[in-house]
């Protein structure tokens, strides 16, 4: 259980939080059980688990090398040898999608990681200290929000230069405002609670109050946002790769595969259809699970 270590510090603060509900002593255990009750989020979870396993075991699952070309065998329809057919250079589409899972998960986790670290830091500083610091940070965030996210990502990649790494950075930066706003509003409400006053009365300094007491109580929305953010991040990154601004050949990135197969759309639809389905499943999985998680962690919906 990867959730276990996280839950330890939380039960500490949870003693303040959950006094009205003495029967539950673990927020996460309770939430998890509630997720299992919702069918859609279970489906989402299953998709995510399958994708994680695929990524982990890619070399065992793939039937061919993802980059081996055989130009003579280009545009082969799905068959026993090539389960999902071959692409414009005769590469096995199934194997490319399988290895592409690794790249997609990598993009999702790293991009959202960047968004979260930067966004949470900015948001909590803005929310906690308020006044002019809040003013400056949130206006910058507002400026970022004023741009359509994909447009901003394209602009960033153009400045940084097209590569998978830069695409992840760009998608990460684009996701910062969501986290910053979310965390700021959570911090604003938690800041006013009595246990924070109590910790200040004991003499805790700003840093300790912020990172030791306030942030752990904002974890739930952050986790939900991360789950939902992974879906959006992979979609944005696929868009960038489709435009040639993300993964560079021969990397089997799904968006790039879509883009490369376009020329034969009418004759060999499988070349674009299957990477499209892969992106769809990935985003669907994380969105379903994220939605379920949000419902489960929403204190208003308790009982």
């Amino acid at each position: 259980m990867s959730l276990q270590p996280d839950s330890t510090p939380d039960t500490d603060t949870g003693t303040f939080n959950n006094q009205e509900h003495p029967k539950t002593n673990n927020l996460f255990k309770e939430s998890f059980l509630r997720i299992l009750k919702s069918k859609t989020s279970v489906i989402g979870l299953c998709i995510i688990i399958i994708l994680l396993l695929t990524a982990l075991l890619a070399p065992l699952i793939a039937t061919h090398s993802p980059t081996d070309q055989s130009i003579v065998n280009r545009y082969q329809p799905p068959s026993v040898d090539h389960w999902l057919g071959t692409d414009e250079l005769g590469r096995d589409i199934f194997s490319r999608i399988v290895f592409g899972t690794r790249i997609s998960i990598q993009i999702g986790v790293i991009a959202v990681g960047i968004s979260m670290i930067v966004g949470v830091t900015l948001g909590s500083i803005a929310g906690y200290f308020g006044r002019w610091i809040d003013m400056i940070i949130m206006r910058v965030i507002d400026i970022m929000l004023a741009f359509p996210s994909v447009l901003l990502a394209i602009a960033l990649v153009t400045i940084l230069g097209p590569s998978l790494r830069n695409a992840m950075i760009a998608v990460g930066i684009v996701g910062v405002p969501q986290f910053a706003r979310l965390v700021r509003s959570s911090v604003l409400s938690v800041k006013e609670t009595e246990y924070i006053e109590a910790s200040k009365a004991i003499g805790a300094r700003n840093l300790r109050t912020l990172f030791g007491h306030i942030l752990p109580n904002c974890l739930a929305p952050i986790i939900v946002q991360m789950t939902l953010g992974i879906g959006t991040a992979i979609l944005d990154a696929a868009g960038l790769s489709f435009l040639g601004l993300g993964a560079q050949p021969p990397t089997p990135e799904w968006g790039a595969m879509l883009s490369d197969g376009r020329a034969a759309l009418q004759n060999a639809p499988w070349v674009v259809a299957f990477p499209g389905v892969a992106i769809f499943l990935f985003v669907l999985g994380f969105n379903l699970f994220g939605d379920g998680l949000r419902d489960a962690l929403d204190p208003k919906l308790k009982d």
Binding site: V72, E88, G244, P250, A263, Q266, N267
Partner: protein, 552 residues
């Protein structure tokens, strides 16, 4: 709650206002470049456009779909095919190419003669031609145009074809003089064999001096020539509309209107053709040829081959690319027959820079062939046996001579991996790719479509040291004095047999030095509705549309 509805209503009003203002903005920017009286007709044009958009049923409008917008409608200032496509309709040149092939026939000039020393050319001009703005075409107008092209380096083709430089802005044309109302005389500083053919290039279309004076810097948005179609409207990145010139001195157009529509994606453009919203498209994906042929409403039309697609090696860059052995090794490491499969039948493997259909092609030169072992030994001889990293620049949109640039790049990446060369592919859009700003490439995809049917147009422009600058044609930055001497000699040699010999020799040296990996000569496919008749694509890449008919 009431408040909320009010708010929604106001928001809705704002949206409607925004959408409406968006519409008027568009129409405004479209006529931006047009002259004032065109503005007055704006409403009328918009109506016409709508009719045209409803489909090509209306028989008299020819809609041509293509991948990129024109850069400028001033043919002397551009080298891109998409601009030339349009200027070909608006302007005429002194002489023009025959419908098929690159022999010249009379156009604005009816007759011409050259002095015995090949230095003085005298042209008799037509006396019945008017520019679209109503002014008369005469010898003074020709002189005005040629003098204009010497005033600035932006007139790329003048410099490239007549060897004009900053120090010698006139190049080899010493003097252009109106010797009579309808007679113009060119005096050259040295004989130039391709001279007459060069004058037929679309780049040297004669524009109205009065309109050039009137519009100044903005002339490229307000083109005025003598051609079969009159410029009407340009909506950037969307469409260019031309109407028939009733007073055309040649064969008047069979259609009333031509609209060039920009549809960037080849597949999307093909779907529009299938749906009937465009009449002709260029840049058909070779994979779609079979779909055209099996569709009873469509026809595939092939442009005669006069092009070359190649990968240039940056011979100027310090490191492996400056070594002849490495360049030869890469030539040996590429399995061209395999690579050509990606052309889906429209390409022939290239050995030389000039296409085999052109005179002067050296048939005796044997291609390097595919021999990875030999390539490896050449590489170790050059000291790169342990492998190296190279950067390959490619472009995103397909071109006639390279229908699948990104896929071709990946195939080459894979082939070079076998000889321990690690290729990083960098893909840019066409403008960035050709801007010449980024010279960090080791290898770069490019191609060339011949302009005037003369080998000089390939070899001198693409491989002479005179043109080895980032913004000129010699992308390989190949600087060979031997080749330069041969090419300059061939330019001033009037006898075609002797010129052929000189070009043969130049091709041998080029083959040995291997500044390129020549890839393919293609027969570019176009597609059109079955009811489009008399469309004869010209090998130079574009042609006037006055003979095209649309059958009802």
């Amino acid at each position: 709650m009431k408040k909320r509805y009010l708010l929604m209503f106001i928001t809705f009003l704002f949206m409607v206002a925004l959408v409406l203002s968006g519409c008027t903005d568009d129409a405004g920017s479209g006529s931006d470049g047009a002259s004032d009286d065109a503005n007055a007709e704006d409403q009328g044009q918009a109506d016409e456009d709508e009719q045209a958009d409803e489909g090509s049923d209306d028989g008299n409008t020819l809609i041509f779909g293509r991948g990129n917008d024109s850069l400028q409608l001033d043919p002397a200032a551009v080298t891109d095919g998409e601009s030339i496509y349009v200027t070909n309709q608006i302007y005429d040149t002194l002489v023009q190419y025959e419908e098929e092939g690159t022999n010249v026939k009379p156009s604005l000039a009816t007759d011409w003669e050259v002095s015995d020393n090949k230095l003085t050319w005298t042209f008799q001009l037509r006396d019945d031609v008017k520019f679209h703005d109503g002014t008369d075409f005469n010898a003074e107008a020709v002189v005005y145009n040629f003098e204009r092209w010497t005033t600035s380096a932006e007139f790329t083709y003048y410099g490239a074809m007549f060897r004009a430089t900053d120090d010698n802005p006139k190049g080899i044309i010493e003097n252009v003089e109106a010797t009579d109302e309808y007679e113009v005389q060119f005096t050259l500083s040295e004989p130039n064999a391709p001279f007459l053919n060069t004058l037929a290039m679309a780049a040297f279309g004669i524009a109205s001096p009065e309109s050039i004076e009137k519009h100044g810097e903005d002339f490229f948005k307000n083109p005025v020539g003598t051609g079969p179609f009159i410029f009407e409207e340009w909506v950037p990145d969307d469409s260019i509309t031309l109407t028939k010139n009733e007073d055309y001195f040649g064969e008047a157009a069979k259609v009333d209107e031509v609209i060039f529509r920009t549809i960037p994606d080849n597949g999307a453009r093909f779907m529009e053709l299938q749906a009937g919203s465009i009449d002709i498209m260029n840049g058909l994906n070779p994979q779609d040829i079979q779909n055209v042929e099996s569709d009873e409403n469509l026809q595939a039309i092939y442009r005669p081959s006069m092009n070359v697609g190649y990968m240039a090696f940056n011979t100027d860059k310090e490191g492996p690319m400056s070594e002849k052995l490495v360049r030869q090794a890469i030539n040996l490491a590429i399995d061209k027959d395999e690579l050509l499969k990606l052309y889906e039948g429209i390409g022939k493997p290239a050995t030389n820079p000039i296409p085999p259909s052109m005179w002067g092609h050296n048939d005796d030169i044997e291609d390097y062939g595919y021999d990875p072992e030999e390539a490896k030994s050449l590489l170790s001889q050059a000291g790169y046996g342990d492998g190296m990293d190279l950067v390959l620049h490619t472009f995103s949109n397909p071109r006639d001579y390279m229908p699948q640039p990104k896929v071709t790049a990946q195939a080459i990446q894979e082939m070079l991996k076998d000889v321990n060369i690690n290729v990083e592919i960098i893909e840019n859009d066409w403008d960035t790719h050709t801007s010449g700003e980024d010279m960090s490439y080791d290898m770069k995809f490019l191609g060339w479509i011949g302009d005037n049917g003369d080998p000089d147009n390939f070899l001198y422009y693409l491989l002479d040291k005179d043109n080895a600058t980032p913004d000129a044609g010699n992308t390989a930055m190949y600087k060979s004095n031997e080749v330069h001497d041969l090419l300059i000699e061939a330019q001033s040699e009037p006898d075609q047999d002797k010129r052929t010999e000189l070009y043969m020799e130049a091709q041998e040296i080029i083959h040995e030095d291997a500044p390129w990996l020549p890839i393919a000569h293609t027969t570019p496919p176009l597609a059109a509705n079955k009811n489009v008749k008399n469309y004869v694509p010209h090998p130079t890449g574009s042609e006037p549309f006055n003979l095209i008919e649309i059958e009802k």
